[in-house]
Subunit: 315 residues, 2 copies
């Protein structure tokens, strides 16, 4: 396109989009026929000079959602827009809202919902409206007794989701990671615990988040792991954790010994699930999101547009 046409297309776009003039009026102003104006506007669009953003906490990026579904084979993908975002808290809120909306609209309504815990799940439990479902039972799928930070939040999350959804809740009475493998095995044989794990393994849908493998990991806050231990995991290839288990970029368990001491349903149950909803958003979670999606740990991904775009880059 000639330079003069490019300039004209910008002038036309200003009059069309900012001043709400018709193409005919623009033609009169710029001394062009209205067809020429139409073509200039089409060029401006084609050249990417016109950027249209939907600025709203509930705005989604349908194009990215479609691209994700097609490229990765996900059943569903929800991508929240980052337009007009002020800070990362805002991003978390939007993602949680999208997850709550998705859960509310999910059909068939799950009989039993297996959930993990953490900041993301807590946010979702807050965003869910009372009465979002009627009779959805909630069961924890990984150990959730926090060692030092905000005790009880893991339990509160499950309770909240269940109560707002008019169902029962079942907690997994165990830490996320045990010191000694013998303790793990001892607990795992307790009848009250195996019943919960069986219930979790038979859940009709799963809802979980993921943590990145760095000093900001929730495992560090909760006191289960030290920063040094995380560093060691990263050296072994860890990109993050999912329901408490650290995986590499291929979705494989990084440290079998640690995994053995980790309490919760095995990752294979997620891989076999009909509905496994992963909610993973934020700039530090690109790697773990990619791993979860590519290794088919989820059937549904709820994320932000930057993470989605990163996911679409290489695979």
């Amino acid at each position: 396109m000639s330079d003069i046409d490019e300039l004209l297309s910008i002038r036309a776009a200003e009059l069309y989009y900012e001043e709400d003039k018709t193409q005919d009026e623009i033609g009169t102003i710029l001394r062009l026929t209205r067809w020429k104006v139409g073509r200039l506007l089409a060029q401006a669009k084609a050249n990417g000079f016109i950027r249209i953003e939907i600025v709203h906490p509930r705005a989604r990026r349908l194009g990215l959602e479609r691209a994700l579904r097609e490229k990765t084979g996900l059943t569903d993908a929800i991508v929240v827009s980052t337009a007009g975002l002020v800070d990362e808290t805002d991003l978390h809120k939007r993602t949680a809202l999208a997850a709550a909306d998705y859960l509310t609209a999910l059909r068939p309504v799950p009989r039993t919902l297996g959930i993990s815990w953490g900041r993301t799940l807590h946010d979702i439990s807050v965003q869910l409206k009372p009465g979002w479902a009627s009779g959805v039972d909630v069961v924890q799928i990984n150990g959730g007794v926090s060692l030092n930070a905000r005790p009880g939040t893991a339990a509160a999350t499950a309770v909240n989701i269940a109560q707002k959804g008019g169902g029962q809740f079942t907690l997994l009475p165990s830490p996320a990671i045990l010191e000694r493998v013998e303790t793990k095995h001892a607990i795992a044989t307790d009848r009250s615990v195996t019943a919960v794990l069986e219930m979790g393994s038979a859940a009709s849908a799963y809802l979980f988040s993921a943590g990145q493998a760095d000093a900001g990991s929730a495992h560090v806050d909760s006191g289960y792991l030290t920063v040094d231990q995380i560093d060691e995991l990263v050296r072994k290839g860890a990109v993050g954790d999912i329901v408490g288990r650290f995986i590499d970029s291929a979705g494989q368990i990084v440290d079998p010994a640690l995994n053995e001491r980790t309490f919760g349903i095995p990752l294979e149950h997620l891989r076999r699930a009909t509905t496994a909803i992963a909610v993973i958003a934020g700039p530090r979670k690109h790697a773990i999101a990619r791993s979860v999606v590519l290794s088919r740990l989820c059937t549904v991904l709820i994320t932000d547009e930057d993470t989605a775009a990163a996911l679409l880059q290489t695979p």
Copy 2:
């Protein structure tokens, strides 16, 4: 509007603007009539959820231009968009480009153009296309022999503009500010100098920029003033300088003694001019831009959208 309608309007907007669906198709998807869809889209627009930006170096903000003209009585206002801007250099380039475009399209074509000097004017001289006019003579309106930094740029600017415009150039052979008032008067009586000043005073149009009053002032770089002297001027109320003369927020000379030693046409000549084009852009120039416009030192303002918005805030 109800909450549910708001959500629907966002879903409709996504389908309309991102997926290029017709309102009728959206109606089928969302189980609404196409008229309802049209109304939802209108609401989304009215609520400001739809943001349309024209991303292009030449994009302007016509709405702000009109508001500026109406509120301040300027003959013309050019407001360049900051959409998609990467850094401040980019902003300077866009503004200079807009000034060059404006000058090229200016009718009637000025016989003689009085110009100041500085980074902005230099940028404009670069952006002007050879042959932008035929036969426009250029004359410097304030002293421009730089003391230490990049000697000759002031002259080069004038030469460039004149040559590309097919006209003669006339330099003002004097420093911007003289040490002693006696020297100023001595120079001012020299025939070769008075001729230039007369020519400058009779110019048919003026093109000038402005400097902010802080340590980054061009006067500091050029060696005419020290940072301490600028601080002193600020204490007296200076917000910036125009053709070398420091003014306060009301457009009044701040330091009469310094003004007496400053070489160039008096500000009153700008105030009486038919066409006085001020090119002032950048976050640090909001105060001086306001002063110049409100005290009617220019008839045309070329600026960026942030400065324009700031200008429209209070007055």
